[in-house]
């Protein structure tokens, strides 16, 4: 039953991808197609990274409302990068090999999120509202610290890191595409190997332990994978607040299942359809000035509110 829906989604995605490549491609295709292909690859990468990180996070915290971005993971990445600019200076940062900067940032995000969220997650299911509040407070704290540091940095210096406070799908940081692709594929490999364990972890710590899993260890492994995926997507396009929530909620509606093999695939396909389709329509058809991320966050924000109200009333 789910297989047919997944195939249909795959077909829609393929169609959107082709349209994105060829629509309005006047002039030299030898130039246009590789240029567009690079952007398409980056969109797909970001889409899959965001949806996968969200599924992982919702499974280990056993809730369907919170996502890494709502908990402030992306904001934390931007803060870490800003601290790096502050300490080394934009020019100093540029002189370092970009891979090293990216690597160090990713490692820092993994460590910081283990430190900040590692202990919090244990009580997530019992106290959803506390988690929501903590996430909002963390996010606000990270963002205001970032803003504070930015004010003390010369704007020209800051421009080199190319991160803003919202996602810009039109200005993808393609220098990092190769390393991002490798990192994402590696991470997805680990997630895929974990898929059956995730099914068990979703039953809650007691049931999972009874079935021979170690929930604490699973949470930590998942947190590391989440941090890597978040740093990939944030480095490429910037923070995206509600995309993950939107696409994973849609996936749960379209393919209701307890199997992570299906949920991960379905969420990834929907995420790609939303990003590629949305970008195709806004760039090629409507020539929109408003960035796609604003539209996605607007709709995703409504989903968040609706889930929150439904969840607390229950």
């Amino acid at each position: 039953m789910h297989a047919r829906r997944l195939i249909a989604m795959g077909a829609i995605l393929a169609l959107f991808a082709v349209l994105y490549m060829v629509l309005g491609a006047k002039g030299n295709w030898n130039f246009i197609l590789p240029f567009r292909a690079t952007k398409l690859a980056a969109l797909l990468l970001v889409a899959v990274a965001v949806s996968t990180a969200t599924v992982l996070f919702q499974t280990i915290t056993q809730n369907r409302i919170l996502t890494p971005s709502i908990m402030g993971f992306d904001a934390l990445y931007v803060l870490i990068l800003t601290v790096a600019v502050f300490v080394l200076g934009g020019q100093g940062l540029i002189r370092l090999p970009p891979l090293a900067v990216y690597g160090v940032n990713t490692v820092m995000l993994v460590l910081a999120s283990l430190l900040l969220f590692g202990t919090l997650l244990a009580g997530a299911r019992q106290d959803l509202m506390r988690m929501v509040l903590t996430g909002i407070i963390f996010g606000a704290l990270f963002r205001s610290l970032t803003a504070f540091l930015q004010r003390m940095i010369d704007p020209n210096e800051y421009a080199v890191v190319q991160v803003s406070s919202y996602a810009r799908f039109t200005q993808i940081n393609t220098d990092l595409l190769l390393i991002s692709t490798i990192l994402t594929l590696l991470t997805l490999g680990f997630v895929w190997r974990m898929r059956h364990r995730l099914d068990v972890l979703a039953l809650g710590p007691d049931m999972a332990t009874g079935l021979g899993e170690r929930p604490r260890r699973g949470q930590i492994e998942a947190l590391i994978l989440i941090a890597v995926l978040v740093s990939v997507s944030t480095a490429l396009v910037g923070p995206i607040a509600f995309l993950g929530l939107l696409v994973v909620s849609l996936a749960r509606l379209i393919t209701p299942t307890a199997q992570h093999a299906v949920l991960l695939t379905s969420a990834a396909l929907i995420s790609c359809i939303v990003l590629v389709g949305g970008q195709m329509v806004s760039e090629r058809v409507l020539f929109l000035a408003a960035p796609l991320s604003v539209v996605i966050d607007f709709i995703g924000g409504f989903v968040f509110l609706a889930l929150l109200l439904k969840g607390t009333r229950r």
Binding site: D199, L203, D206
Partner: protein
């Protein structure tokens, strides 16, 4: 045999278990009884390592619970925690299939499928196999959870208040299934229960806990007396006997 020695446990300042030493004999049904808050669930969680040990030691057969690998423990001992409630949208068959996870780790073999079908059959769940748990009654759900534990096919089975939500037919049928498992297959079954009449009718061994200490232990016909009811449960109900089985009229 489950050997528990010098087991103490506290939640913050509350002493939940106080120097408990206990041997649960191999084979047979052991009923664990005691007032609300006596520490029964805590004791089961410690045996199954759902809660880490603070002081004391627990051995399940040859396994030292504090040391043995998680998956090995799960192939020797299964537990149904109290008030189990799972979040995801599972069908009854999917839930019961999880019982086989410690063996197949995600890729069920034909033997696993046979055992899953048998568990569904034995708990009258075959007609409900493809229903989602959310759509079942409390008792039907409870049966599905017990069936999952049963499918785990372990020598030691711990059940925390499995009779909750079950009507009289389902309760008797569950206890008869447990008796069959213990007598025919030599399983060691520990059941937390509130209804002493079920304990007296089906258990081979009874352990009474109150305020974190063992108050009485032995065959139900010897343990359950008027004095026992007043000291462990602080009630003046009377014990009668039918065919030498103690019966409490309420």
């Amino acid at each position: 045999m489950i050997r528990i020695s010098d087991l103490s446990y506290h939640h913050g300042r509350t002493q939940v278990l106080d120097q408990v030493s206990l041997t649960i004999p191999k084979g047979g049904i052991t009923a664990l009884v005691g007032a609300n808050g006596a520490g029964k669930s805590t004791l089961l969680s410690l045996i199954a390592r759902l809660t880490p040990l603070q002081t004391g030691s627990i051995h399940v057969g040859d396994l030292d619970v504090s040391r043995c690998p998680s998956d090995m423990l799960a192939r020797n001992l299964s537990i149904l925690p109290q008030n189990t409630e799972v979040a995801p949208r599972l069908t009854v068959r999917e839930l019961v299939s999880f019982g086989r996870y410690p063996y197949h780790k995600g890729q069920p073999t034909s033997e696993d499928h046979t055992k899953i079908d048998a568990a569904l059959q034995d708990f009258d769940l075959t007609p409900l196999a493809d229903r989602v748990l959310d759509t079942l009654s409390g008792g039907q759900k409870q049966r599905a959870y017990v069936a999952m534990t049963y499918a785990q096919d372990t020598d030691y089975i711990l059940l925390d208040e499995p009779l909750n939500n079950l009507d009289i037919a389902a309760s008797r049928s569950l206890m008869q299934t447990l008796r069959h498992l213990s007598q025919e297959k030599g399983r060691t079954i520990v059941v937390v229960m509130h209804d002493l009449n079920y304990a007296c009718a089906y258990a081979d061994h009874l352990v009474a806990l109150s305020n974190g200490k063992i108050r009485a232990e032995g065959h139900p016909s010897q343990v359950v007396t008027n004095g026992f009811l007043s000291s462990v449960f602080s009630t003046d109900a009377h014990v009668h006997h039918v065919d030498q089985v103690p019966v409490i009229l309420v």
